[in-house]
Symmetry: C2
Subunit: 278 residues, 2 copies
């Protein structure tokens, strides 16, 4: 019984991809010839070529007969970079067309995980929904939400298909006050892969958020998956405290809808830590 290993082709493909994206191999640089690569990695030229074909498809290299294989300008992520927490507001402000497809809508006993997070009594019922959100007709997030039944009944299936959940909640008188969110990385399974239009086994950003109202009661449990090629989670920080207590603290990341792009490192940035380190 052998450990499960990836194919040699994929190994080489990932290796080269890594080096290119990482900048080890800079744009314009010529890769070793196929026979050379074959010798270096002790693989046949067929395998080398298959890996290069993958890179070519990714737009990472240019192959010129007779000349060689060259690294292209691997542009670092042209995607919509934004703070996941306010992303939707962002997109709307930027006038991007977003829509959500409702895949599932039901009332059911709360899964243990959700019960624990929202501090429900065991088996209490919740409103459960699964949505995929699109931006300009390309899927960019997969949202699974759980809301305590007492709150869930205040909106309908149609509401959920058209309006952000948080908006619905606040319309119902719920005061979203605090949230705790966790970001991790996962792999796309067959289902998710199809919905988000990525390959099975692709990396995904996974975010779990629990929202509490002003009484500290859990009102929403959200598990979201994002395509890392379309989004990344960005935040600004400042250095606060002194001595051993000196640490990074987040800065309120209100990204200005007008000001696209860069973290804006300008020293003249008057937007000082608008956050109170209290």
């Amino acid at each position: 019984m052998v450990a499960i290993e990836p194919s040699k082709t994929q190994r080489l493909y990932l290796l080269l991809k890594e080096q290119i994206l990482k900048g080890v191999l800079s744009p314009g640089h010529r890769l070793p010839s196929e026979p050379q690569l074959a010798a270096q990695h002790r693989l046949s030229r067929v395998t080398i070529r298959r890996a290069l074909e993958g890179l070519e498809q990714d737009g990472l290299i240019r192959r010129q007969p007779g000349a060689g294989t060259f690294v292209l300008d691997a542009r670092p992520r042209k995607g919509v970079v934004g703070d996941l927490s306010n992303m939707l507001a962002h997109l709307v402000a930027m006038g991007r067309a977003t829509r959500a497809k409702l895949l599932s809508f039901s009332y059911q006993p709360s899964p243990p995980v959700v019960s624990a997070a929202l501090k429900l009594v065991d088996g209490e019922r919740v409103q459960h929904s699964i949505r995929v959100r699109y931006i300009d007709d390309t899927p960019f997030s997969h949202l699974t939400t759980y809301v305590p039944e007492r709150i869930g009944v205040t909106y309908s299936e149609a509401d959920l298909a058209s309006t952000p959940l948080l908006t619905l909640l606040e319309r119902s008188g719920v005061v979203a006050d605090r949230a705790s969110q966790t970001v991790t990385a996962t792999l796309a399974g067959p289902e998710i892969a199809e919905l988000l239009q990525v390959e099975i086994g692709s990396p995904l950003l996974s975010m779990t958020r629990v929202v509490y109202d002003d009484h500290g009661r859990g009102v929403e449990y959200l598990s979201a998956l994002y395509r890392p090629d379309l989004h990344s989670f960005q935040m600004e920080m400042t250095r606060t405290g002194i001595g051993a207590e000196r640490r990074w603290s987040p800065v309120s990341s209100l990204t200005r809808p007008g000001a696209e792009t860069k973290p804006l490192p300008g020293r003249g940035n008057s937007r000082r830590p608008s956050i109170t380190p209290l």
Copy 2:
């Protein structure tokens, strides 16, 4: 020409491994039968079995003829959930033993990406280093850093192997003032996979951070990779503003070292928001 993909066996193997380690499938839980899995994933039973064999070898499942396949309590080490920005300080505060292995240390012309981020003139030289950080002898982060040469010369190779880079910088009189960081998801290539002791093709949390001093000059470019089974990025937020301007704002997220719950990355972290309202 088809995109380079991992084998179906490996795909399924990684997918299930993920779910188990993440707690989606809790210990004791019985997996669907092999024919069921085959149907769900549209694979042959042979393939299903190969993947399960891998998991069995890892000690993640127990297979009992006639009964089924069960998830074992392989909950590895308790995941250290923390804010990536202050993680190191955390760990130190918790008395965990961390050490870094220096894999590379050199002075070289700045890669274009780094030049752009740090706003260096093209070709300006930088101090480049690659480190792997261990906690209790298991690798948990892979760090690639670039520092402008004028600053880089203030510390030695030995310094870097023993002391956090930011500490070195501040010791040299650099005042780290602001930082911009971006979090995404990637896949582990062969090199990284070996260094972080994960499978090739495993998901990784990728963080890029640019640190600026009080004059707005870039002083450090950091590209870090984290194992999502050991760490996740957590933050607390509050709801601020009114009306259409109502948004999420981050809260200084100091995790209390004392609060040693059974965290576990991913879904189901029921840990109550442990912010210190100071």
